[in-house]
Homo-oligomer: 250 residues x 2
């Protein structure tokens, strides 16, 4: 059976990859991915064949992977973070409908939400939403409705793709929408280059976030009504009756 | 500086742990956790000292970790999945306010949402919400509002703690709420014992999910309006104009 591993390599540094992901790459003849992600793993698997396609060529990348697998090679299609969160896993199944003889195995990884949360402290301890601000494939009205519903329901919100050259003001628009329901003093955090050179993190209020410039390599976290800053860390408690959880506390 | 690693060990099997998590456990003198999770790692780190506390004793477990660290030991507090998603990371920071001399490092892992998604196919490719159905620390009204808002905004929804002895009908209640906005034919999936012995997965409709019995070791996925079943897998496309993304497709 021809096999393709669809591998989430985590935020970036080799150490943040799961043991299973590293084993899959070791087991592969060919490693395929977006140029930037291939460069992240190349040095650790230098004996492999590497194939890359640029961004926006995701479908071609999937077809390339299936064509390599049809040659009898074991293939790893790599994604940053988790292959199943805004990653290639879904498209691989969609394109894979034309390749019934190729078996797919999805290998999960640490996505930017959980990787970034660990850098900021513990912002995602309770119910949260992931929302991408990219309107390339999703109408903005849909994104706007999600931001409003998530804010009204007091979810912690994690924003992917918060900005790009064409979308420089989207984070500001999103913050204005959130402030219809969330207090401007809500504790927020941003993390850039998670697990890579130049990793940076900052904790701030929602009002301050509104006027903060971020790039496409930044993940943004907006707390719920219970989230607080503890010694510079962004921390969301487990629930709404935290005291209840301290019966045996000193 | 006294050090505590707060480590997400992933869904269960050793291989699903990150390289960084495994290194942290190796670097530790003491590994502390809920009995069940300690048993999952014991065999791989048999030279370590292990300390456990039962469920519902989370605060005591945190205090135990800080007290061990204050003795000068390097400590790992382990959680299943990701330490920052319904995990111990938040409580460690809260309890840690009393231990300014102890440094915390959070090491992220594969949470049940992404681990389970990889088993089912690719349900979380687009915007999604995590909601815990446990009302131990969160009023049910709050949970209900989140289910309704998430459904109305067409999020993919992943449910943690879908059931327990006391809450045997909560999943049914949640499905009835979701069906106010989601089509009863919405593609859903459940995964039990992710990455452990007896892992089981099933894809079904929301209507079928409503009448399905699940246990506390099951993670539940409810698709958005675009989610479909492809050869038995649960797959959510990247957006709402998927065709747009096929310009170069064969």
């Amino acid at each position: 059976m021809n096999k393709i591993y669809v591998v989430g390599i985590g935020p970036g540094e080799y150490e943040q990859m799961t043991v299973k992901a590293a084993n899959a790459l070791r087991d592969s003849d060919v490693i395929i991915g977006y140029t930037v992600y291939v460069d992240l793993v190349k040095e650790y698997f230098s004996d492999k064949e590497f194939l890359t396609t640029p961004m926006t060529k995701e479908v071609d990348r999937c077809i390339l992977a299936f064509d390599e697998a049809m040659k009898g090679k074991t293939v790893s299609m790599i994604c940053s973070g988790d292959a199943g969160v805004y990653g290639m896993a879904g498209l691989m199944y969609e394109v894979g409908e034309k390749y019934p003889d190729v078996e797919l195995e999805i290998i999960p990884g640490v996505t930017a939400a959980t990787g970034g949360a660990a850098v900021l402290g513990a912002p995602l301890i309770h119910d949260f939403c992931l929302i991408s601000l990219s309107d390339l494939l999703t109408p903005w009205e849909k994104i706007e409705a999600r931001i409003l519903h998530a804010s009204e329901a007091d979810f912690v919100i994690c924003l992917y793709n918060p900005s790009s050259r064409k979308r420089h003001d989207y984070l500001q628009k999103a913050c204005d929408l959130m402030m219809r329901y969330k207090n401007p003093e809500t504790v927020c955090g941003i993390v850039a280059n998670i697990g890579r050179d130049g990793e940076q993190q900052q904790v701030m209020t929602l009002r301050e976030l509104r006027d903060t410039k971020v790039d496409m390599f930044t993940t943004v976290f907006i707390g719920n009504s219970q989230t607080r800053e503890i010694n510079g860390k962004m921390v969301t408690p487990r629930g709404y009756q935290a005291k209840k959880s301290y019966p045996k506390s000193k």
